[in-house]
Subunit: 230 residues, 2 copies
């Protein structure tokens, strides 16, 4: 196993480390993220596997730029996209010693790779580290819970939920840039790409959103969108 040493080296992209809203709304201040700048920065090419299902979980990851998808493949071979991780998000933290899912870079992606052993050593004397570690785990559980709820909803509700969520995680609240193709969105929401496309068109006809380009969406009526999620 390669020994990744914690360093404080900061790349040109570090400017956004503390400015982006995280997936969870329960983050109080941006200052109490001791893990945020730990670890080593690694570049991943488009489509590259970051870790695979069943591999030992040795690192905690944090997206700096780009985007990541985690994929769960059931024993029956069914493929499901568990979640997307955007700049500022942590992923790769597992309950057990092995990864229960795989992670791939969606586009070219820059990631901080933090040795969990390094974190574990800190948890003893650094209470803030322990706290953040639990926070990261909580966020992960919330993601999972959200998805189980999601799968009982209609296509329109799912798409609305997805858009609202992406809006909340985007720095520009009105314009969303989707890093992933339609296929990924569909597999994440438990729909087909055709239904995703149709439902989005439907929301556009209703005047809730506006499709600027293939991967750019403008939110026209944020309130109505949120009401659909209910």
């Amino acid at each position: 196993m390669p020994a990744l040493i914690a360093d404080e080296r900061c790349s040109v992209h570090c400017f956004d480390d503390c400015s982006l809203p995280s997936s969870s709304k329960s983050r109080k201040s941006a200052g109490d993220e001791p893990i945020a700048h730990m670890g080593k920065i690694v570049q991943y090419k488009r489509g590259a596997e970051i870790f695979g299902q069943g591999q030992p979980a040795l690192y905690l990851y944090r997206v700096l730029t780009g985007a990541v998808r985690t994929v769960w493949i059931s024993n029956g071979g069914r493929r499901q996209i568990r979640d997307f991780y955007l700049p500022g998000d942590y992923f790769g933290l597992e309950m057990g010693s092995a990864h229960s899912l795989s992670a791939y870079a969606i586009g070219d992606t820059q990631i901080r790779v933090i040795n969990v052993h390094t974190i574990a050593k800190l948890t003893g004397r650094r209470k803030d580290v322990t706290h953040q570690l639990l926070q990261v785990k909580d966020d992960e559980l919330v993601r999972l819970q959200d998805q189980t709820l999601l799968l009982n909803k209609t296509a329109e509700e799912r798409i609305a939920w997805f858009l609202v969520r992406m809006t909340a995680r985007s720095e520009t609240q009105k314009f969303i840039t989707l890093p992933m193709p339609r296929k990924d969105v569909a597999e994440h929401l438990g729909l087909t790409i055709e239904t995703v496309s149709r439902t989005m068109r439907q929301l556009e006809s209703a005047g809730l959103i506006k499709s600027l380009s293939r991967r750019r969406i403008q939110v026209l009526n944020d309130e109505a969108l949120r009401k659909l999620v209910s």
Copy 2:
């Protein structure tokens, strides 16, 4: 907050403490369950709330007799049965400090209530306690993962999955006793009670199962049932 003291008192029902197969197949030996006999035994009446969503999570629970359902109510008011817990199963362990869901006794139920603080104090010097605690958390995560997969399947696959799962958790592998009404099964699988009923009839017509009574089911073709889950 009521202080529940750990005791080793064992009721007449303790005979099955280590004999029942747990939800997870990764349980090695029955001996390494130090938490199994901890805590105080409490009786719950049919339908009684064991804990509620949002309440502080102070205890770990273990079903001795009867059955428990955990219910998740979304902010939109949608109701979803997260899972059922049978004799031998642990529940109520949360990542954070508050319960993210509610728990109810399905029938009259006997439960061991273990103070998490008592466990926490042991984790320092008892490695087996720590290990089992992680195991319980893992089991919970697996339950959640299974359900997300489930909701992308057809009604027939869901029912088959449910029956196979109940079979595996039953001491008599061929005869299943469902402690919960059809409504609970439906809400757990994301179906309606009518679809549950129809699909079961369909499986019975195909010769896979036989409905003995309202809540007793005989598995005739276990292999075919498992193949449906795939």
